[in-house]
């Protein structure tokens, strides 16, 4: 009887031991499951971030000043800066505070600047020029640091390229810049191969918010 009691007690202890071991195993598995899930989620997040930012991220300083156009430039491997964020599309008569110079989109004047290979010797209203970008034009701009030979060569090129326009913009940071809706780049001169590449990609390109719209019969000065 005594031995039966003893063996029963040891069986209870053994069962207890097994139960503890089982619980420990379950706990370990649960921790592993959680850890694996965390790794997967972290991997997915990192992967998504890498995908989204695969165009490399820099060019700080040009973050939005305009609450209607929140966003920033992201520079691609090809040197083209792409605006990541919203760009207004409303017609407004007043001046617009654009976050970058020259602007690459946003609310604009109801009248577009003629952009059928038009070259302007004086500064033009950026609100009219932005409307031209909406129609699929590329806007060539330069400041006082640009050489005269380059300016002349650029003007000749613009004059023979429909859906482009050119004008001086004193406030821009680089001597020669190219802008399309949501995109911008700097080029070194009229013979920079990046100029042709930009024209080919963006003159009436995929970025055009209003495909088919005209570059004629707008403002001519």
């Amino acid at each position: 009887m005594g031995s039966a009691k003893k063996s029963s007690a040891s069986r209870t202890a053994r069962i207890e031991e097994m139960r503890r071991a089982e619980q420990a195993r379950e706990r370990r598995n649960r921790i592993l499951t959680i850890a694996a899930s965390v790794v997967v989620v972290a991997g997915l997040v990192a992967g998504t971030v890498v995908l989204v930012q695969s165009q490399s991220d820099d060019d700080g300083g040009s973050t939005a000043a305009d609450s209607k156009n929140p966003g920033k430039f992201v520079t691609g491997k090809d040197g083209v800066r792409t605006w990541e964020g919203t760009l207004g599309r409303n017609h407004v008569a007043k001046a617009v505070n654009y976050p970058v110079t020259p602007p690459v989109g946003g609310d604009h004047n109801p009248v577009w600047m003629n952009c059928n290979g038009d070259v302007y010797g004086d500064e033009i209203n950026n609100t009219n020029a932005v409307h031209s970008l909406e129609h699929g034009a590329v806007w060539v701009t330069y400041n006082a640091d640009a050489g005269k030979a380059d300016v002349d060569a650029l003007a000749a090129k613009v004059k023979k390229t429909p859906y482009t326009l050119m004008s001086p913009v004193d406030g821009q940071k680089d001597p020669i810049m190219l802008s399309a809706w949501g995109h911008q780049r700097t080029v070194t001169g009229a013979d920079d191969p990046d100029l042709d590449a930009f024209f080919e990609k963006f003159v009436q390109g995929e970025q055009t918010p209003e495909p088919g719209a005209a570059c004629t019969n707008g403002l001519s000065k």
């Binding site: 694996a36 997915l44 019969n217």
Partner: protein, 206 residues
């Protein structure tokens, strides 16, 4: 062993999810290579919007002959140029897909609205003007022509935006979806512009 199964399972899940994300990102524009069929949203939108646009082009030419107002004449020029070109894109795609320009089904069947288009007196789809309204526009002068044009075009744009939204949802050809999205945004912005122009003329949308 069970742990390794778990880890392997997790890794496979991660791979599949990454693949799905990549596919979703890459497939956003122009996933399908095959030409659309005649009853697809892509073909239906190309057919119907080409017709819808044509009336806006016509209406804009008419008002340019009825007023000297620079603002209305420029808006009409913009709409005529834009919609004539977009109509050319839509018809060009139908040509490339070797699909007919007409269908025996009622307009907008592709967006589940085959029974909505009345077709009364030339107004083949929602927002379109009747033949009588087009005739009247051609008889009005000056400010009365401007107001009537702005009212007709506001209705026209509202119908157009609704149809373009259906293509944004249901079209599968990336370039067409993009064009439709541009139409929605462009025409919504012009509806606002026209509301302001109507107000300046002491009128409002119908």
């Amino acid at each position: 062993m069970r742990q390794w199964g778990l880890v392997t399972g997790a890794a496979v899940t991660a791979l599949v999810a990454t693949g799905a994300i990549t596919y979703a990102v890459a497939g956003d524009e122009g996933a399908s290579d095959a030409a659309p069929t005649a009853d697809s949203a892509d073909a239906g939108f190309a057919r119907d919007m080409a017709v819808h646009h044509q009336q806006a082009v016509e209406m804009s030419y008419v008002v340019r002959d009825r007023t000297d107002d620079e603002e209305v004449r420029r808006l009409a020029y913009d709409i005529a140029q834009t919609q004539a070109n977009q109509r050319g894109m839509l018809l060009g795609w139908l040509d490339m897909w070797e699909l007919p320009k007409v269908s025996s089904d009622p307009p907008m069947t592709w967006m589940g609205m085959g029974d909505a288009a009345a077709g009364k007196d030339g107004a083949l789809m929602p927002g379109m003007a009747t033949n009588a309204e087009m005739k009247r526009l051609g008889e009005l002068d000056g400010k009365r022509a401007e107001v009537f044009y702005l009212q007709l075009m506001t209705d026209h744009h509202k119908g157009g935006v609704h149809m373009a939204q259906a293509c944004v949802r249901a079209c599968e050809v990336g370039v067409e979806k993009r064009l439709a999205r541009g139409m929605v945004e462009g025409q919504e912005s012009e509806i606002e512009l026209m509301a302001g122009m109507l107000e300046e003329r002491g009128a409002a949308a119908r």
